[in-house]
């Protein structure tokens, strides 16, 4: 399977993980699904094609991050009945900040300038 083919399976796997953390008390707006897909398809495809990441090797770690994404989205949705696009974007920001810090600590990503 090429990365372009595999990335869709990977995204399905991640949506499952996000759903696990969200649970049945809230729904997810359809535009949030579209936004998450567009965003992470690009990121994952880059990781798989440029950096040569392997899903089978990284799956455990990435789906754990997916569950964290679900938890953050749930947090931002507070008492709303569903997770909207704003909550999804805020959750992504939290998760990606955490991932960047992790990558910098592990030395797999260059440290960013403080002005960034």
């Amino acid at each position: 399977m090429t990365p372009a083919q595999e990335v869709d399976y990977v995204l399905n796997d991640c949506f499952f993980a996000v759903g696990q953390a969200v649970g049945t008390h809230k729904s997810l707006d359809f535009d949030a699904i579209q936004w998450w897909r567009a965003r992470y398809r690009a990121f994952f495809l880059h990781a798989m094609t440029v950096t040569g990441n392997s899903w089978l090797r990284d799956r455990h770690r990435v789906t754990a991050v997916g569950r964290f994404l679900g938890q953050r989205a749930l947090h931002y949705a507070a008492d709303r009945p569903s997770i909207d696009l704003r909550c999804a974007a805020l959750a992504s920001d939290d998760v990606e900040t955490g991932c960047r810090m992790n990558a910098e600590r592990e030395g797999v990503a260059p440290e960013r300038l403080s002005a960034e």
Binding site: A17, H25, D31
Partner: protein, 173 residues
């Protein structure tokens, strides 16, 4: 934009006659541009269903990647066939179809009892149960509405997303 009822409202019937009646007959063969657009849209729909299955499975267990692959291949083909025949009715049908996804998740959890995760076998068995249920339900609903013509049947079931086979792929899904 809140497009549907919350997922926890899982007791809705799988068949919704007013929506189902409006589906109409299958359309003619779609244009290549339409197919490309439907192929783009079906990805969001499959994501939506995986999210729902994950919601219901929760932290009780997890899913094997093989099972993810099998479910995706299976339902993407079926959803795309239904969309090519009837157009993209996701906005109208989302609540009904995700209710079916809830059942799929519960069956998969049951079939994975005693195993560390939902494997491909559990995923297949759960899908078979759900599709049998949808088919029976659709037949019953069609009978209740006095609609028994085989050509009209697929158009009259809310569960047509997982039962419709494009004529040239009969038996392949």
């Amino acid at each position: 934009m809140h497009t549907h009822e919350p997922h926890h409202a899982i007791h809705s019937p799988l068949t919704d006659p007013p929506q189902a009646v409006s589906v109409g007959a299958p359309r003619n063969t779609p244009h290549a541009d339409d197919v490309r657009e439907l192929e783009r849209q079906v990805e969001y729909i499959v994501d939506d269903c995986f999210f729902t299955v994950g919601q219901v499975v929760g932290m009780r267990t997890t899913v094997d990647y093989d099972a993810v692959i099998w479910w995706r291949d299976h339902y993407r083909a079926k959803f795309l066939a239904a969309m090519q025949a009837f157009g993209n009715r996701w906005t109208q049908d989302r609540s009904n179809v995700t209710s079916v996804a809830i059942m799929l998740a519960e069956r998969a959890v049951r079939y994975s009892d005693g195993k560390p995760s939902i494997d491909c076998e559990a995923a297949r068995k759960a899908a078979a149960d759900v599709e049998r249920y949808c088919e029976l339900h659709a037949r019953r609903a069609a009978r209740a509405m006095g609609l028994s013509a085989p050509d009209d049947a697929p158009a009259r079931i809310a569960g047509y997303w997982c039962n419709y086979e494009y004529p040239d792929t009969q038996g392949g899904g």
